[in-house]
């Protein structure tokens, strides 16, 4: 604890801002097996069986009455691993997505990941946040270098807050595929790296940058 003082803890507090680079796509359930096989071949954890996950995500919204439309609400995503109840809960803030021009291969957005204690839901309610929507995501996780690939199925929860197997209902007949990298600001070479990786998954799945604001 030598030297523990303000300057010491400040060093921890001001971490360079991180950005998430993201490509998304989807694959029909029937062909998911083939994709998983290919990912096992391409990714770093090839010799082991793919890592599975089962997460419950609740999205909380806080509204304000400021005049500018861009800041009328803020969303925080709270994630919790259902298969590892002892793991810390997780708050994620995602900033405004920048789609950019054609020369940029991926969607880029500010990203904050904070691990926290399990009373986070009560805490957000106290702060005035309201639950906006919730879902369960189950699937497989791969990594290649700093790239992260998630193949997951999204389930609607028939009873609010209940994550039992028999109350979950799949939303679609397909799996969502996400390729992402979280890195400090200004690393534009990642886009190229991700594009090249996405090329190798064609034609099974086409990973693209989606402008979420333009979705119907």
């Amino acid at each position: 604890m030598e030297g523990a003082g303000t300057s010491y803890s400040n060093a921890f507090r001001f971490v360079a801002p991180l950005q998430e680079h993201l490509l998304q796509g989807s694959i029909l359930d029937a062909h998911c097996e083939v994709l998983l096989h290919r990912l096992r071949g391409l990714c770093d954890n090839a010799d082991t069986t793919p890592e599975t996950f089962s997460d419950y995500e609740a999205v909380y919204q806080l509204k304000n009455n400021l005049a500018t439309p861009a800041s009328q609400y803020i969303l925080l995503r709270v994630r919790q691993a259902l298969d590892h109840p002892e793991a810390p809960h997780h708050i994620r803030y995602l900033g405004q997505a920048e789609v950019g021009d054609k020369s940029r291969h991926t969607l880029v957005r500010a990203c904050f990941d904070v691990a926290c204690s399990s009373n986070v839901r009560d805490f957000l309610n106290e702060l005035g946040f309201k639950l906006d929507h919730e879902y369960v995501a189950r699937g497989y996780f791969f990594h290649k270098g700093r790239m992260k690939v998630m193949v997951s199925k999204i389930y609607r929860m028939q009873q609010p807050g209940k994550t039992d197997q028999n109350t979950l209902e799949p939303i679609t007949q397909s799996h969502m595929v996400e390729l992402s990298v979280v890195a400090p600001m200004g690393q534009d070479s990642i886009g190229e790296e991700m594009k090249n990786f996405a090329e190798q998954l064609k034609p099974l799945v086409v990973l693209e940058k989606f402008d979420h604001k333009r979705l119907p």
Binding site: A4, G5, T6, R13, I74, V114, A115, F123, E126, G128
Partner: protein, 209 residues
């Protein structure tokens, strides 16, 4: 990490805070405790700027850091709910700036010397509000035990040889949670309680003038 008791130590009339801190430090050193660096606990106040109706009280969130848990950040609401998170939570509070704003000149800090004495960690320091001295803080931690009710007797004995009758009772926050498994969030809650008392005192002093 173990059970921790935090007390504010009264400054007698006619003595300066610094002089009392030095007396306490000498007493602790006489017990055989060894200096082991410094400690710092700080507290920022954030207030909601959300006005849904005029009658609604603004909400307050206190963000605390403790040098004993340098990678953690503690956020405590008006209703004493304490969230423990990574230090990145500070960045998240910054993202909420359209909803919660940091109150200016409200930063409280407790800083001072840290000692080790066998299984105990002792800390003596001064608390300040926006840089001006507000009072003295004494903290004692008994590392091998996680349940307050099991070690209060032992802690009381050591505490009383340093601060005397100030430590007749466990700190109010700990008193209600004596059977619980201790966690660092209880320590910062004790600090916040003391900080808020200092704040109230300085507010009433200002009105009295």
């Amino acid at each position: 990490m173990g059970v921790t008791c935090v007390y504010s130590y009264p400054v007698p009339d006619g003595k300066s805070g610094q002089a009392v801190v030095e007396i306490l430090q000498r007493q602790i050193e006489l017990l055989g405790a060894l200096r082991s660096g410094h400690f710092c606990v700080d507290c920022d106040t954030f207030q909601s700027i959300l006005q849904t109706s005029i009658n609604v009280q603004p909400k307050t969130v206190y963000i605390l850091h403790n040098s004993e848990q340098p990678a953690s950040c503690f956020a405590i609401t008006d209703t004493s709910l304490c969230l423990t998170a990574d230090t990145l939570f500070d960045g998240l509070m910054h993202q909420l700036k359209n909803y919660y704003q940091q109150r200016k000149n409200a930063k409280m800090e407790a800083k001072g010397q840290r000692y080790e004495l066998g299984d105990f960690i002792l800390k003596v320091g001064s608390a300040s509000l926006a840089g001006s001295f507000k009072g003295i803080i004494v903290e004692v931690e008994y590392c091998p035990c996680m349940v307050a009710v099991d070690c209060w007797g032992l802690m009381k004995e050591l505490l009383q040889s340093v601060v005397g009758s100030v430590a007749d009772q466990p700190p109010p926050i700990l008193k209600n949670r004596q059977d619980e498994l201790y966690s660092p969030s209880i320590t910062v809650s004790q600090y916040l309680d003391i900080f808020n008392n200092f704040r109230k005192l300085s507010a009433t002093n200002q009105i009295g003038r």
